[in-house]
């Protein structure tokens, strides 16, 4: 699949996206609401030849952003699904680990440090925080003070 086919495929997703940003030749950002992120990740993983790299979470001013990074190695592209979670009190989103086991641990980690609830996650135990860390305290949120 070349870049034109990929672009056509991405264009077909337009109703699920807020925007498509091409910052460089090698980087594409697909911004979406969190309700659509599951479908987008599933599309990238199953219908294109993308490979899941990692996910990251950012505590922004008005929302949480979860960035699912996918690599498209034939073209040297990195496609990032930027999912916006607008509920800052009880952030939750659909887990992509149900079809993509590689995302299981990073979702556990994001749950630990930022308190994002991943629905239908197969095994949501604590991963990286200390055993005696209090529940409901999320160290990488902006309001956290040591």
């Amino acid at each position: 699949m070349d870049i034109h086919e990929l672009n056509a495929k991405l264009e077909s997703l337009k109703d699920k996206l807020i925007s498509i940003d091409k910052t460089t030749d090698k980087r594409i950002y697909l911004t979406c609401e969190s309700a659509n992120s599951f479908d987008l990740c599933r599309f990238l993983y199953e219908d294109t030849d993308c490979r899941f790299v990692i996910a990251t979470v950012i505590d922004s001013d008005n929302y949480f952003e979860i960035l699912y990074h996918f690599a498209y190695d034939q073209l040297g592209l990195v496609i990032t699904v930027k999912s916006l979670i607008r509920d800052k009190d009880k952030p939750s989103t659909e887990s992509i680990a149900t079809f993509l086991p590689a995302a299981e641990w990073i979702e556990r980690e994001m749950h630990d440090v930022a308190g994002i609830e991943f629905k239908n996650h197969p095994d949501m135990r604590r991963l990286i925080l200390a055993d005696d860390w209090p529940d409901g305290v999320y160290p990488l949120r902006k309001e956290f003070k040591k």
């Binding site: 925080l129 200390a130 055993d131 005696d132 860390w133 160290p139 956290f144 040591k146």
Partner: protein, 143 residues
Amino acid sequence: MSWKLKFLKKSVWVFHVNTGACNNCDIEVVDLLTPKFDVERFGIKLVGSPRHADALLVTGVVTKQALPRLIEVYRQTPKPCVVFAIGACACGTGIFQRGYHVAGPVDKVIKEEDPNAIIAYVPGCPPKPEAMISGVVKALSVL
């Protein structure tokens, strides 16, 4: 000098504890034990259990998760023993100073458990194997 300290200095067996290092210091510690530096000429040898050790080589800042483990390892080490804080993080928390997971530098944590503990510092990020040899030999010469 007590006879215990005298015999401690003759050939120091060390146990390597990683309490939350980035692995850089650990690589240098492993380097130290290779034939190139050959610390066995000073009688320094890596052992697999703190019960056999005369000295602990502690690398990394002490995280909250590692704190009870480090105390347990220190308790199991026969006394007298020397604790070597290897690297900037172990000596004084380094870049992790305000981290949410940090319990404190190695000296503070060990002194809380045993106020009379003997602690030596080898700063650096990571310290060169030569610096560790120098630190260990100097610390043993002033005991």
